[in-house]
């Protein structure tokens, strides 16, 4: 065994291996904090896809508010769950689509269009007799103090997509 055939000495070989293994270990330790540090950057694109197809064709939306129910996956920390959502959808006098959240701004019950026979043409909250006009504005003198929130919406391929609901200020 001559020196030319084995240019790597025992010392060099050990140095190389230890550096290599050490490098892998360091990379292993560094990768998680790095991933966490840049995580928000990677997630930004997902904000755009918050719209859900609620299985309602644009043509089926009338002047009469109708209830649509759909489901979204919600991640709350480590806990993933399916949340069912509801909206009241109709076209206003200008033909614009309106999607109202049914969550009563008083204490959070679910309101219904003409939910009470005594109050036609109103959204009605069964819990404490709260009333809203068709545009979602609360009727003065009933418990709610703010209008119903409005969902962001868009039409794609003739189907209605709903996004987040936005609260509105006091009337």
């Amino acid at each position: 065994m001559s020196e030319d055939k084995q240019p790597v000495s025992r010392r060099q070989f050990l140095n190389y291996t230890l550096t290599g293994v050490g490098g892998f270990m360091a990379a292993g330790i560094m990768i998680s904090p790095l991933r966490m540090a840049i995580d928000p950057v990677l997630q930004q694109g997902e904000g755009e896809s918050d719209f859900t197809n609620v299985q309602l064709a644009e043509g089926d939306i009338t002047n009469e508010p109708q209830r649509v129910d759909w489901e979204v996956e919600q991640v709350d920390g480590w806990y993933e769950s399916t949340v069912s959502k509801t909206a009241w959808v109709y076209k206003d006098d200008n033909g614009d689509i309106v999607a109202l959240s049914p969550i009563c701004t008083h204490l959070g019950c679910v309101v219904s269009w003409e939910g009470s026979e005594d109050h036609p043409e109103r959204f009605y909250c069964p819990c404490h007799d709260g009333l809203y006009y068709k545009d979602g504005v609360n009727v003065e003198g009933t418990p709610p103090t703010a209008p119903l929130p409005v969902y962001e919406h868009k039409i794609e391929n003739g189907m209605l997509f709903l996004g987040k609901s936005q609260p509105r200020g006091e009337a």
């Binding site: 949340v83 009563c104 008083h106 204490l107 959070g108 019950c109 069964p126 819990c127």
Partner: protein, 157 residues
């Protein structure tokens, strides 16, 4: 997201808005592992009742508090359970809750309904494994609508 369950966040809300929340719903859920031929059926009833309770509570959040589930052995003596349940109701009644509802799909409660310290809502669920989740959802929703109407009729007096 509004809810009204026996969890810290909701109860903060409850304490503030107590005057508006006058109704409590207590789910009665039987449990057993001894009767193997009925295991799946019983578990399915429990699951459906839980889904139902969640949906019902969501509809009526502002006036209804959903109590934690009351579990009992399916084979247990109902007289004994009745006494234990009364201690729950007595504790609950230290707060103003004029409307107490029990929700169950266990038919045995129906027989001793009058002895309960509240109104019994007995809901036999008709669902099979062949039903799709979406079909179960819509079936449950229809039932929620019916029961919401029933609870409202109690409120109207």
């Amino acid at each position: 997201m509004y809810t009204m369950k026996w969890v810290k966040h909701d109860l903060q809300h409850y304490v503030q808005e107590k005057e508006y929340i006058d109704t409590i719903i207590i789910p009665l859920l039987p449990f057993q592992l001894s009767n193997e031929s009925n295991l799946e059926k019983d578990a399915l009833q429990n699951e459906l009742l839980s889904v139902f309770n969640r949906e019902l509570e969501k509809e009526l959040t502002g006036r209804v508090l959903l109590a934690p589930d009351y579990h009992y052995l399916a084979s247990a003596d109902k007289q004994v359970e009745l006494e234990r349940l009364d201690t729950w109701v007595n504790d609950i009644q230290t707060q103003p809750f004029p409307f107490v509802f029990f929700i169950t799909s266990d038919a045995e409660w129906k027989k001793i309904e009058q002895k309960l310290g509240g109104n019994l809502l007995w809901l036999p669920f008709i669902a099979t494994e062949s039903m799709k989740p979406s079909e179960v959802q819509s079936a449950v929703r229809t039932q929620v609508k019916e029961v919401t109407g029933l609870i409202r009729s109690y409120w109207k007096g």
